[in-house]
Amino acid sequence: MGKKRKLMKVYPIEENCVSCRYCEVACTMVHSKSKDPVKAYKLENLLPRATVEVKGAVSLSLMCRHCKHPFCFDSCISGAIQVDENGQVHLDEEKCVGCWNCVLVCPFGAAHPYVSEEKRHSFKCDLCGDRGFPACVEACPNRALVYDYER
């Protein structure tokens, strides 16, 4: 404890954000089966793991912070949320039973509920694990998202 973790995550820079929502589109697309932005929204009913917030002149894109103390991990009744040795917080959507405790306790609102008749589970930013580099950062035209080591 107290030691710096070797964890990279996505940092929003609100001064640079122009609320274009490219991050949301890129996120949804790379997590889709079709890899097509329109199909991902319309046919696969996917939702972005990054949330662009706008209020007056302020805007920012927000996703899982992989907290040093993740309350979602405390609250997860199914064991779907786990923390790896680097401190990255993983959510196994198959294991998740949709109890919504993580939604209830995430201080950033970064664990989202997926509620449909067939499926109920939470979902959140996975740092594009199998992709190697977060798609939202790549898509951001204004350097309002950067991929960096934890501070």
Binding site: L60, D74, F108, E150
Partner: protein, 429 residues
């Protein structure tokens, strides 16, 4: 250093996690009379045939990786504080340097005549849930009476209705979940339950459970008689403090602990449903038998047991109704106790399927209810926890797009830029 944990649920797993953050090597022993580390909040799901493996909260691999020795199928019956040993029902002695008591809670069974008849069940352990399921199957039970409309009672009732059993919930108070929800959300929950076929009788109680050897009906206080092939008593739980008392630990409404989760007896810690805990929303110390709190208390206990000093943040009531098609979440105070509280409501349930309510005191959020649309409500939970002044944005608290942009800029600076997300960073500001 030798750590011993009695109990094998959320607080125990939290404790193991906490210990291993600090001390990677010293032996940990877990003692539990139950046979596996399953998820307590999920046991009612056995009624709708959840696969057994889904119920497992932490599998054997977890205990192996954390170098935990499991003593399962044995009860810890006594703690001898002089020789620092836990005595098992097999008379085996388990020595400890630091002990965690996480013995959970026991179902409260009111003194109802006939409550000892066959076919009367409680619902806090997997074994009782499975026994109940087995009983209704073997006896072809078609009608069940559930006593109490708390979270356990309602979930059991809902699942029974789903599998075609006629179920009636008998509740002493005037509405469902009266202690956790406000009137409006109770009403929404009742409507959803009734749509599934669950019937409610409010302001009444079970006076007697009738039958021969097995239960056949219940007689209510009002004189009404309901046919019942089985009865589920779910009127709440009480901290299980028996083991703690053998150690001479101070017990009030639950086991008393200090900010480090240590009990009145040195080197004995306690966490989870067996303790009484500070409710930060009203400043009162009380049992708050909730899964997330149990884990967190266990975690804090674990850190302290391993020598890393950490102060518990305190708890707050928070619930999620996980079985309904419509999510129902609440935290903190949901019904203002007096006129010094401010209330904001956004009720669009009939047209849009959502309802939100926020309760403030002195410009700070102390509680909320969210039904239907629940995305991002954790932001609200944290506002309660950190006691941040939200008076400039109070009308916005019940809007669906309330977000971090509504919070003070310093908060975003600290949390998003500086990564202040360690446990201690979530204290009240």
């Amino acid at each position: 250093m030798k750590y011993v944990i009695v109990g094998n649920s959320a607080a125990a797993v939290g404790c193991i996690t906490g210990i291993r953050k600090v001390d990677k090597e010293s032996p940990i022993t877990v003692i539990s009379y139950e046979s596996s580390c399953y998820s307590k909040p999920m046991i009612a799901d056995v009624l709708i045939d959840i696969p057994q493996e889904k119920l497992i909260y932490r599998d054997e691999k977890f205990f192996e990786e954390n170098k935990v020795e499991l003593i399962l199928g044995h009860r810890a019956v006594k703690v001898n504080t002089d020789s620092k040993v836990v005595v098992l029902d097999s008379n085996e002695l388990v020595p400890y340097d630091k002990l965690l008591i996480s013995t959970g809670a026991k179902p409260f069974i009111p003194p109802i005549p006939g409550a000892d008849r066959k076919g009367v069940f409680t619902f806090t352990e997997l074994s009782s849930a499975l026994a109940f399921k087995d009983y209704i199957k073997k006896n072809g039970v078609e009608e069940v009476v559930v006593v109490g409309s708390g979270f356990i009672g309602l979930e059991v009732a809902y699942f029974l209705a789903k599998i075609g059993v006629k179920v009636t919930v008998v509740e002493l108070l005037e509405r469902a979940l009266a202690k956790a929800l406000d009137e409006r959300s109770s009403q929404i929950v009742e409507t959803l339950m009734k749509e599934e076929g669950v019937e409610f009788i409010f302001k009444d109680s079970v006076a007697e459970i009738l039958g021969d050897e097995k239960v056949s009906s219940v007689k209510l206080g009002s004189g009404k008689v309901l046919k019942a092939g089985a009865v589920v008593i779910a009127v709440g739980v009480r901290p299980n403090t028996e083991l703690a008392q053998t150690a001479g630990v101070k017990v009030n409404a639950g086991i008393e602990t200090d900010g480090h989760m240590e009990t009145s007896v040195k080197d004995i810690y306690a966490a989870g449903d067996c303790i009484e805990c500070l409710d930060i929303t009203d400043g009162k110390v009380k049992p708050l038998p909730l899964f997330p709190l149990a884990f967190e208390q266990g975690f804090v206990a674990g850190l302290n047991m391993a020598g890393k000093e950490m102060e518990y943040l305190g708890g707050l009531p928070l619930n999620s109704l996980k079985f309904l098609p419509v999510p129902v979440l609440n935290a903190g105070i949901v019904t203002p106790p007096d006129s010094s509280y401010e209330v904001f409501v956004n009720d669009r349930f009939e047209e849009k399927g959502f309802y939100r309510k926020a309760i403030l005191k002195d410009g700070k959020l102390v509680g909320f209810v969210a039904v239907g649309q629940i995305d991002r409500v954790g932001i609200l939970t944290n506002l309660i926890r950190q006691k941040i002044d939200v008076s400039p944005v109070k009308e916005r608290l019940v809007e669906l797009d309330f977000g971090l942009v509504d919070l003070p800029q310093w908060w975003r600076e600290e949390k998003l830029k500086q990564d202040k997300t360690a446990y201690k960073d979530w204290r009240a500001v």
